[in-house]
Symmetry: C2
Subunit: 211 residues, 2 copies
DNA sequence: CAGTAGTCTTACTCACGAGTAGGTACCAGG
DNA sequence: CCTGGTACCTACTCGTGAGTAAGACTACTG
């Protein structure tokens, strides 16, 4: 079944990357429990003992996957968002960065959201951490821009709702990959910024003209 | 460990209910793979062969759980929503019914959303089915009320976004149970009907005075 | 009181998967 | 050419959990 000729001895760092990639792939397809170390090692083109020697137990491997993918994603969003802009523009660029990342890293997103959130224990912690950062980002955006007196808890829960909406819209998007990322992002932007009440009246939000 | 004296012979229908309740409990806590038929049978206060005799294999049991809980939930929403009302009122009553159900049936919701959505295969079908019904309900609400020309696909994807927002707000709510259902529902209502754009201006939506 | 239908159990088989023991192949530096 | 270290493997152990065989106990029915 091995298509390429037997791969030769490779330095540890390279193997570890291969293994991580394989692990993200398998975990995203099967979930933590259904994924087997045998399959991961096979996909990685390596034997099981190597896997254990380099990445430790199954749980350690999974946690490492989550940490790596979470970091990649937060960095993608951070570089995509433009601070010192109007709140709606910031939100817009953040949404674009988010959906852009998910679109190009479906497996990463699956591991992060679907798999990690359903496993209890140490895994959820990494996730909650990332989510908390995202929520407080949005919450800050809100409180910074709001003119009405709103409690901190109000802002936080609205931010949580928005983040949740983004998460599950991304989830939904997995089943409708034909839509381009920008369209999905724009839809969510319109929904959460304008609301149905405006949308049914025909009032839509659109980004400022390109600078 | 058995607290009650040995339960006597019970008719099949009763046992099946006990087993289903136990299965929903265990599946919601552990997920499909981590849940064992041994534990389910123990929680149900019955032996494993009975479980197999009555409910079939583990997969069949899980699918049956999903179907039962999905039906319960859709019925709860259907009885809660008031047709022939303004769109926003319909949406409001629907949201209240939904969050009311989730609040009083956390285990059901976990099985439905968290567990079922992460298992592939025949399980997701039941789920997709329920979700589709919900989405087309909301989509109909939208197209029925919209004054602007909107494509069917536009309405459907907005509805999907709203349903997704509801789902993950419910998910979020599981970790913040101190909030009452009505408050959570109202927050989502405000978010999706008014939008942040209005909310930061202090414009909020509120239900019509009680009839 | 037989017979039979339905409830219920103990005590298995068997496969699969996590983790390991105990090596072999290859490449440095001396 | 040895010596050590790192990459790498085959071939196991062992626990856990799905599913079953085979029968026991109860209750109704004639």
């Amino acid at each position: 079944m091995r298509t390429e000729g037997r791969a030769k001895r490779l330095p540890r760092a390279v193997r570890e990357r291969q293994i991580m990639d394989a692990a993200v792939d398998v975990f995203s397809r099967l979930g933590f429990h259904a994924a087997s170390m045998d399959e991961i090692s096979e996909v990685a083109g390596i034997s099981k003992p190597m896997l254990y020697a380099y990445l430790g137990s199954k749980e350690e491997l999974f946690a490492t996957c989550i940490r790596r993918e979470a970091t990649r994603m937060m960095e993608a969003i951070a570089t995509g968002v433009e601070p010192d802009q109007e709140p709606d523009v910031q939100l817009w660029s953040g949404l674009r960065a988010f959906f852009g990342f998910v679109g190009e890293n479906r497996a990463s997103w699956m591991v992060l959201h679907r798999q990690a959130s359903t496993q209890g224990g140490p895994f959820a912690v990494e996730l909650t951490d990332m989510r908390t950062r995202a929520v407080s980002l949005v919450a800050a955006l809100l409180t910074q821009s709001t003119k009405a007196p709103a409690t901190k808890l109000e802002a936080e829960s609205l931010a949580a709702a928005l983040v949740g909406a983004g998460e599950s819209l991304a989830e939904w998007w997995l089943d409708h990959p034909e839509e381009p990322a920008g369209v999905v992002a724009a839809r969510l932007m319109n929904l959460v910024w304008m609301g149905f009440g405006d949308l049914v009246e025909g009032n839509v939000w659109h980004p400022p003209s390109r600078r």
